[in-house]
């Protein structure tokens, strides 16, 4: 452990990272960090904060521990994932391309602590089997907190006023280019809401940086996922809550309203789905639940929405890196 002033500054920085980054992650994941390092856990964010600060002071929680955990948790889940054909670049040339780019100093940066106002490339991890490039953007805002609302009679005009409370929230969006060399696809993962052209702008920025580095020469080709989602709606490896099948001039929705279960649990819906000639519907979307008891490796059950024509997969919950890849593996196996 570094000692003296340097050590105190390091602990201060770490505590700031806990406040702004660590505590914004899901409770289940924070508990996992505490449990893994045998730190007292607690039940809510206030407990976690107190225990994390104490562990940093005692030196039982260090920067490498937090960074290892953050790299598995932050930016995974609650995101939109687009699949593309992988770059044509030879694996052995990647490092040279990175070194020769404007981002050379970021190579080996596992986690960034920055909250930039605009999305900017902030971390690059190159390993023997994958390349991960991350962009960050501060997205803090105000979160409604009704428990802090109050009413007050104004002394001046005698009227009663109601005040709605908002709590300041620190958050940041992570956008990631992820390429596992063994896969027949690479992915752009975006933690930005899809509003208007927001994703188009993000894609433009990312591709601009990737082309500058030399990962891509031209825009990569999206991999259509409609066939995969069609196949998944006929199988039982996920709980299929709904599917929309699109053709020129219309679409067909099959939706289960069951809280536990999906289309497969309702005979009429199952038979309706079977009655569809898949070949007549070029586009398919679907809502799928990947349950932990069906997919042993998942750290939690994962709700996923697939948009076939857009090659987009939306993960509705925060989860871990391995969870996201397990979901993508299942989808890919159906393409």
């Amino acid at each position: 452990m570094p000692g003296g002033e340097k050590g105190a500054a390091e602990k201060r920085d770490l505590k700031e990272a806990v406040r702004t980054i660590v505590l914004t992650q899901g409770n289940a994941f924070i508990k996992e960090l505490l449990r893994k390092h045998k730190i007292q856990i607690g039940t809510n964010k206030a407990d976690f904060s107190k225990n994390l600060h104490a562990a940093i002071d005692e030196g039982t929680l260090t920067r490498p521990m937090i960074e290892e955990w953050l790299s598995e948790v932050e930016g995974w889940g609650n995101q939109h994932i687009y699949l593309f054909e992988p770059p044509k670049l030879a694996i052995g040339e990647i490092k040279d391309k990175l070194v020769g780019s404007n981002f050379a100093e970021l190579i080996g940066t596992a986690v960034s602590y920055a909250f930039p106002e605009q999305l900017e490339l902030s971390a690059i991890a190159l390993a023997a089997d994958h390349l991960s490039i991350a962009w960050h953007k501060g997205t803090g805002g105000w979160e409604r907190t009704p428990s802090k609302d109050f009413q007050r009679a104004d002394d001046d005009d005698g009227e009663v006023y109601k005040y709605n409370a908002y709590r300041e929230r620190f958050d940041r969006a992570v956008v990631r280019f992820a390429w596992r060399f063994a896969d027949a696809y690479c992915a752009i993962m975006i933690q930005v809401p899809i509003e208007g052209d927001s994703h188009r702008d993000v894609h433009a920025l990312i591709l601009n940086d990737l082309k500058h580095i030399g990962i891509f020469e031209n825009d990569p080709i999206r991999i259509p996922l409609s066939e995969a989602f069609k196949a998944m709606t006929l199988k039982h490896d996920t709980v299929v809550q709904s599917t929309r099948m699109m053709t020129d001039g219309g679409h067909l929705d099959v939706v289960s309203t069951l809280s536990e279960g999906g289309i497969a649990d309702v005979r009429a819906l199952r038979e309706a789905r079977r009655g569809v000639d898949d070949k007549s519907f070029a586009g398919t979307d679907g809502m799928f639940h990947f349950l932990q008891d069906q997919h042993a490796g998942l750290s939690r059950s994962v709700k996923v929405q697939g948009y076939g024509l857009e090659s987009r997969v939306r993960v509705w919950v925060q989860c871990k890196r391995e969870d996201v890849y397990q979901v993508l593996d299942v989808i890919w196996a159906n393409t």
């Binding site: 409604r144 069951l258 536990e260 009429a268 199952r270 079977r274």
Partner: protein, 378 residues
């Protein structure tokens, strides 16, 4: 409230409709409005009935929690928070967490018929197969192809083993081609089978051939079966070769008891039933060897709630077929020397009959030729 009390309070129609719904396994949850609409009954009465049925334990009432804004289903834990985890809006700003009653049914897992294969018996070309295919096509509102498998009209060749093996190999090759074809057309499930008489024996012989170990099958209905009653179905199920077996027996099937004497490796499966507890044996006392395939019986067995319909599409977990199935005691084939003797006598008898018939036909033919010859000369 007991079932009898429910009947007194709400009438038989509602109680019977609910019991039918549970037995069908069509859905694990009831929507009171849709249930009322299906019965053309007053919604309030149906709601009261479902509440009473839940109190009596016939169904389970659960309360679901939903976000008032985005309708996201909430757990007790997330509902206790201020904001919806999905839309991030405060529950309180939209009237608070919404509670909704849901009625859960205790149902088994049902399944769909993906596609079927029908195999006929010997000494026939199996005209029932076309009728069966037609009934299935009109019964289901989606496409479940029926492969009508015909191996030709065979009679005396059922007596010899080598011919069985050749036919079983031919069957396996055809089924493999069919399975590959449906897979290419997005049907990934294995086929269900309807087997009649010697067709059932060909099927189990094909299962025994190692070259077809990769072929997997769904639920199997055997009617008029000549498979040995001590056939090890459990092993086949554990191997994943078949999912389940339904043996439709006939009390007046006088053909199958003779099978073991003349057709090698067979037995009276359709009279005795299968001893293996994994098989579902159901006896119809009035059925003869092919009664299952008479149109009225075919319609009745395939109708919603009929024996074959329940076997092919329903849950097989207890209490399925309780009170209908029977478990035969152990079965032993007739002592081999006796079977051998009967077989020799039978074959000899057939040979004598065949020789006699041939002699008779030849004599008639020669006589005809002689008459024609006299006419020409004359």
């Amino acid at each position: 409230m007991s079932e009898a009390e429910l009947r007194d309070a709400f009438g038989n129609e509602l109680v019977d409709a609910l019991l039918t719904q549970i037995a069908s396994g069509d859905t694990p949850a009831l929507n009171p409005e849709i249930f009322a609409a299906a019965l053309n009954l007053d919604g309030a009465k149906v709601s009261d009935f479902l509440e009473a049925a839940a109190e009596g334990g016939l169904i389970e009432r659960r309360e679901e929690l939903h976000c008032p804004r985005c309708e996201e289903l909430l757990t007790e834990e997330t509902a206790a928070r201020e904001l919806c985890p999905s839309c991030k809006e405060a529950f309180g700003d939209h009237g608070g967490v919404r509670r909704r009653a849901v009625y859960k049914l205790k149902v088994g897992k049902t399944r769909d018929i993906a596609w079927l294969i029908a195999i006929h018996g010997f000494n026939t070309l199996g005209p029932w197969q076309q009728e069966f295919s037609w009934r299935m096509a009109t019964k289901l509102k989606y496409s479940a192809p029926v492969l009508i498998y015909k191996y030709g009209l065979i009679r005396f060749s059922v007596l010899v083993r080598w011919r069985h093996r050749a036919l079983a190999r031919q069957l396996g090759n055809s089924l493999r081609t069919a399975i590959e074809h449906v897979k290419a057309n997005r049907i990934s499930e294995p086929p269900d089978l309807i087997l009649h008489s010697f067709g059932s024996q060909l099927f189990v012989q094909m299962l025994a051939l190692p070259e077809f170990d990769d072929l997997r099958f769904g639920r199997v209905i055997a009617a008029g079966s000549v498979i040995r009653p001590d056939y090890d179905w459990t092993q086949r199920i554990q191997q994943g070769r078949v999912e389940a077996v339904f043996n439709h027996c006939g009390g007046r099937d006088w053909a199958v008891p003779f099978a073991q004497f003349f057709i090698p490796e067979t037995g009276p499966g359709a009279r005795q039933g299968f001893v293996d507890p994994a098989a579902i044996n159901v006896m119809d006392r009035d059925y003869r060897h092919s009664s299952c395939f008479h149109i009225a019986e075919l319609e009745s067995n395939l109708a919603r709630g009929g024996l074959w319909d329940r076997f092919l599409r329903g849950s097989l977990a207890p209490p399925a077929f309780e009170g209908e199935r029977f478990h035969p005691k152990s079965w032993h084939p007739i002592w081999r020397p006796i079977r051998g003797l009967v077989r020799i006598l039978g074959v000899a008898l057939i040979a004598v009959i065949a020789t006699g018939a041939l002699t008779f036909v030849s004599a008639v033919w020669l006589k005809l030729l002689a008459c024609l010859g006299w006419e020409v000369i004359g």
